[in-house]
Amino acid sequence: MTTQPATLAEIQRAMAAAVMQPLTADDAMQTVAAEGRPMREVAESFIAPNSRLTAFERLEIYNRQYWYRVLDSLAEDFVALRRILGSRAFHRLSVAYLSSHPSRSFTLRNLGVRLADWLLANPQCAGRRHALAVDVARIEWAFVEAFDNADYPPLTVEQIATLDAASRLALQPHVQLLALHYAADDLALNLHKQEKRQTSEAGVQQEEVELPKARLPKLRRRPTWVAAHRADNSVFYLRLRREEFLTLSAIRQGLSLVDALETGFVGSRIPVTRRAAFVQEWFARWAELGWICAPPLESLYPDSPTH
């Protein structure tokens, strides 16, 4: 009986499965593949040895490179989370997360897109600081989104003059709205500053040094609303009032202007007589920052035929 040669797709799948399998504690390739076959056999099925390396050793190079690369990239994007958990716990968390959500995109920029939600569902990975860790993961992911999401032309004075109660607006895609359990934005910013200072003092970052958990100031749970956004090619974090956050969220959801305003003040303690002044101040700031833009045409006319 002759065996059919593997197709390119089959080889690619086998290679990807082997490369994405987590390393051992010694940073070596596992000896048994995910499907239970010896990894040596898997490697030999599509890799030839050379004069210096066996098929297993050649495949192991790619296995290591994949993990070194994704672990480094994740650590780069979640500096504060790593400091809060300590580097060892962060490493374990990263391996567990990346095993659940391996790289699926052409760009490593997207690697951490599910980290905060995954962490929320996996409290054992963060221990006592779980809620804080989720907040910090959200803040750090918001940086990535704010850093390179689109920036559309803001509404012009002429466009604003045509608005009424039923008008629907949109927020710039780079504006990221965060509802947090702690004032974790300040903490994350401080940890970033510390990290930057330590890195610049050390000259070259010592990536292999084990960092213990950072000593944190006493933090009490306090609902905090923050917008991460981009201005002049830098990312900023801006604290919002609860009502401001709710109004912006309603605008993002596509509610009409009057409905967004009503939603924003549900359960509000701001006296009715003072609300108009707040609203005027908020909308003025958003317009000045260029946050408000026109919604995409397809969201206004979802039933219109596409060409």
Partner: protein, 98 residues
């Protein structure tokens, strides 16, 4: 009553939008201190990260971008450190300098 309150809020929102957009349209781009007027109202800036390294992500070649250090460890996570001396991906040793 509710409609009246909403009408007040709507007027305030539109007045705010108009005022803010007008300021944005006429503001000089830079304050005397050198900081942009927009940035002054933007909140707290995150310490700038190494954006060169960041933008290297997802690209196959970080050569000349500052993302690939030439130490063994620095090669981690970068695809192309070719010619930098740190990555020996075929198991070979670095050629010794003659």
């Amino acid at each position: 009553m509710k409609n009246q309150v909403n009408a007040f809020l709507l007027s305030a929102a539109l007045a705010g939008l108009m005022g803010g957009a007008t300021v944005a349209a006429h503001a000089s781009t830079t304050a005397p201190s050198g900081t942009s007027v927009k940035a002054l109202k933007a909140g707290v800036e995150r310490t700038s990260m190494d954006t060169t390294k960041h933008s290297c992500k997802g690209k196959n070649d970080c050569k000349g971008q500052g993302g690939c250090k030439s130490s063994d460890n620095g090669c981690k996570g970068k695809n192309s450190c070719k010619g930098k001396g740190g990555c020996a991906t075929d198991g070979s040793k670095m050629p010794s300098v003659v």
